[in-house]
């Protein structure tokens, strides 16, 4: 990383795409905060710039840079040098360990005085654990020899067991055998890196890596439910954590696109899902894999009026939106999703991250859920109504 920081050509492509710059007039932007500050700091110790914490660590800047400057990671190192008040420090230490937060999910909402004390955004709702019943979807529709380690990220583990069960059930009927990994609420390190604590990120990532390794004889592929964890395990770990995962890491939407044809035919036999929908590939999903897969999946599943989101980043940024000082930036970024939802009269949002989903749900006042949630719902509908609609195969 230290070699590439100096490669900056000053082309400003990163500046042109940074979502925070587009809504926050104080934000100096990726070029100034990343390679420029880092260069200066190498020459002589330079104080962190005032708005360095406003970076969401979306990594869009890195994904567009022609010479691969690790811009967001340089910014994270700058964040690490920033001094905070005791209460902000304490709050950030907790939020950098989302696995702790997930384990405390059963506590429910945080009382108002504690929120104020902890500088948690007053306007942002905290998630409530989802524990809906998940019924079996019947016999497998095919057989795939690959054994899947379904990666249960800390958010899903604490707040969305329902999603995990839905995803697991879908994978089962697609013919896979499924093991849940890591098996306890642990974090891959992404939250700590984003919050400007690369040291903690690495130790957190290493702990997760050890747990995954202990179970490695149980799976051939890891399937992720969250775009940030997906990119972290596959791309960030080797480059920034010194960790090499030996099995393929694939996001859920890509494995879903490999589901047996029969599954898709059965869904196609249902009438299209009424109304407009928005597919939002989160910023970290775009950076890790690209854009367009989710939209394709939605169309295939019968969400005919799905349209891709115009927002680059929704502003949730893991725990970014929970911090009071980021409330305005996070809100304005989510406003783009809201505007689109209103103009297209969308009924729901299909997105690849749980924390982004709650942020967008609040901004747009329509349900925002993971594709596994929607696919399961649609297949259940097929099972319930299936007999009345003739499948193409029958």
């Amino acid at each position: 990383m230290r070699d590439a920081f100096d490669a900056c050509l000053k082309c400003t492509l990163c500046v042109s795409q940074c979502p925070v710059m587009s809504v926050n007039p104080d934000f100096p932007g990726p070029k100034a905060l990343g390679p420029e500050w880092y260069r200066q700091n190498q020459a002589q110790m330079t104080a962190p710039l005032p708005h360095v914490d406003d970076c969401t660590f979306c990594q869009i800047c890195e994904s567009v840079c022609p010479v691969d400057v690790p811009i967001a990671h340089l910014i994270a190192e700058q964040k690490a040098e920033k001094k905070h008040s005791l209460r902000v420090w304490l709050r950030d230490e907790i939020l950098a360990r989302p696995q702790w937060v997930a384990r405390m999910a059963w506590l429910g909402a945080i009382p108002e005085p504690m929120r104020r004390l902890g500088k948690i955004s007053p306007g942002v709702q905290l998630p409530k654990p989802r524990k809906g019943q998940v019924r079996t979807l019947g016999e497998p529709l095919g057989a795939d020899p690959r054994r899947i380690g379904l990666f249960v990220d800390c958010y899903s583990s604490g707040y969305d067991q329902e999603l995990v069960m839905r995803a697991r059930e879908l994978l089962r009927i697609w013919g896979f055998s499924v093991t849940l990994v890591p098996g306890e609420a642990q974090c891959c390190g992404a939250a700590a890196y984003a919050a400007g604590n690369p040291g903690l990120a690495k130790s957190t990532g290493h702990a997760m890596f050890r747990t995954l390794n202990r179970k490695k004889s149980d799976y051939d592929v890891i399937v992720t439910l969250n775009a940030t964890c997906d990119g972290t395990l596959r791309d960030e770990w080797p480059e920034f954590y010194g960790l090499q995962i030996t099995v393929p890491v694939i996001p859920f939407d890509e494995i879903a696109n490999q589901a047996p044809e029969l599954f898709w035919e059965q869904l196609a036999s249902l009438p299209a899902e009424p109304g407009a929908w928005i597919t939002h590939t989160t910023c970290r999903g775009k950076v890790a894999r690209g854009d367009g897969q989710l939209w394709e999946l939605a169309k295939r599943a019968g969400f005919w009026d799905a349209e891709p989101s115009d927002a680059v980043c929704c502003g949730a940024g893991g725990s970014y939106a929970f911090k009071a000082e980021h409330e305005s930036t996070a809100e304005q970024l989510a406003f783009r999703v809201r505007e689109q939802a209103l103009s297209s009269e969308a009924k729901g949002i299909i997105t690849d991250s749980g924390t982004c989903a709650i942020h967008m749900e609040q901004a747009a006042s329509i349900p925002a859920r993971h594709p596994a949630y929607w696919l399961y719902a649609r297949y259940l509908r097929y099972l319930e109504e299936g007999e009345t609609h003739e499948t193409k195969t029958s």
């Binding site: 050509l9 082309c11 400003t12 492509l13 500046v15 042109s16 795409q17 710059m21 587009s22 809504v23 007039p25 104080d26 100096p28 994904s63 567009v64 840079c65 022609p66 010479v67 691969d68 596959r234 393929p248 890509e254 696109n257 490999q258 775009k286 950076v287 890790a288 894999r289 690209g290 854009d291 367009g292 897969q293 939209w295 394709e296 999946l297 169309k299 349209e307 891709p308 115009d310």
Partner: protein, 390 residues
């Protein structure tokens, strides 16, 4: 499996965007793979046909230039009719993407003005950019502390070179202004309700004038046209902008609209560096994308990738290294690519014998190479006539 694409386009610069558009217009599926963004957000936003001759003198009539002098250039063999159909197609395509241009194709180059006050030829430009047939009087808008737009020097140079008056009206600092703001910061601000209202009030307070009002390129990113319309009503004459150095708002507007359109047409944008290609695949770290054809639109202006010249030379432009020549399929193996059976399809301005930065023909070269590639991969001569080939 998710649908394999008909064409894999490697590169997300203007050439990659155009080739992808041509394919999806025919109902083809595209996977556009890119490691970085490509140069469009660095462009002022104009697509040049031929701005300068070989001696760097401005070209007034690019149609005639290609007809009479083009035979030393790969673009010289293209008929006027073909150029017309390509430009017309680009104009129509932009129309569907909500990129506004004049209704009729230009018959001549028009003059735009640089931030240094000089006149520069321009061919196809979105309507937000200031151009004129003959130099006339203008009223420039000065923006405090915008170093990329030295308005007083600009006015002097303009008057000196054209003999026409250039008055100045100054904006105040907006309440949201921050030190160090560049054109893009202004543009994001003027996309907001607060920014727009502030600007309306400013223009209302300007002393009247009879010449067009010329801003630096700061008039919003996504809501430019509606802002210009209101300002036009307030000023009573035309309102337009002059592009600034990067980060360039004009090119950014084009890139955002173009990519939005492609996303809605189902183009899959795959993020990553291609390490190996074959006739029907591109391999990235840990995955392989399959498709009917592979097109390289990898540019190289910013060192984003290899530059494959049409004579087969492969160069790394950033490092200035020549990596070899691709003439025979086996040659690909020697430059790190696997051998394959089809010739390399390359789109972009990286065409041997052309130098868009010197000649001002980047737009034309992009059209020529993208259409040539499209004809080759679709088996179509020209475009559009035989829908449904894919």
């Amino acid at each position: 499996m998710s649908r394999a694409s008909d064409v894999i386009v490697i590169g997300r610069g203007p050439a990659g965007l155009l080739v992808s558009s041509l394919v999806v217009e025919q109902g083809g599926q595209v996977d556009m793979i890119a490691d970085g963004l490509g140069t469009l957000p660095l462009w002022g936003g104009q697509f040049d046909f031929r701005s300068y001759d070989n001696d760097r003198k401005p070209v007034a009539d690019p149609w005639a230039w290609w007809h009479r002098f083009g035979d030393t250039h790969p673009g010289g063999s293209v008929s006027a009719q073909m150029w017309r159909s390509w430009w017309q197609h680009l104009r129509d395509l932009w129309f569907t993407m909500e990129i506004p241009t004049e209704k009729l194709l230009p018959t001549k180059n028009r003059g735009t003005v640089t931030p240094l006050g000089r006149i520069k030829p321009a061919f196809l430009v979105p309507t937000w950019q200031f151009t004129q047939e003959y130099a006339g009087a203008i009223t420039l808008v000065g923006v405090p502390d915008l170093v990329d737009f030295p308005v007083e020097a600009m006015a002097r140079v303009y008057t000196w070179t054209t003999g026409m008056t250039a008055e100045i009206r100054w904006l105040e600092r907006s309440p949201s202004w921050r030190p160090g703001w560049n054109g893009l910061n202004w543009a994001w601000y003027l996309d907001t309700e607060e920014g727009r209202r502030w600007l309306w009030e400013q223009v209302k307070s300007f002393r009247r004038g009879s010449a067009p009002l010329v801003f630096p390129q700061i008039l919003g990113v996504d809501h430019t046209e509606s802002l210009i319309e209101v300002l036009g009503e307030l000023w009573g004459r035309g309102v337009a902008e002059i592009p600034l150095p990067p980060p360039s708002v004009g090119g950014l507007r084009l890139q955002r609209r173009w990519e939005r359109w492609l996303r809605r047409k189902g183009v899959r944008l795959v993020q990553g560096r291609v390490k190996e290609i074959g006739g029907d695949f591109a391999a990235l770290e840990g995955r392989r994308i399959h498709g009917g054809h592979v097109v390289l639109a990898t540019g190289g202006v910013l060192g984003g990738g290899l530059e494959v010249l049409i004579d087969g030379q492969v160069r790394d432009r950033l490092m200035g290294l020549s990596l070899g020549v691709v003439k025979e399929p086996e040659d690909l193996a020697s430059i790190g690519y696997r051998s394959w059976l089809e010739p390399t399809r390359v789109a972009g301005s990286a065409l041997a014998g052309c130098d868009p930065n010197r000649h001002g023909d980047g737009g034309a070269m992009m059209l020529l190479t993208s259409h040539a590639v499209f004809s080759a991969v679709s088996g179509q001569e020209g475009r559009l006539e035989h829908a449904g080939r894919f």
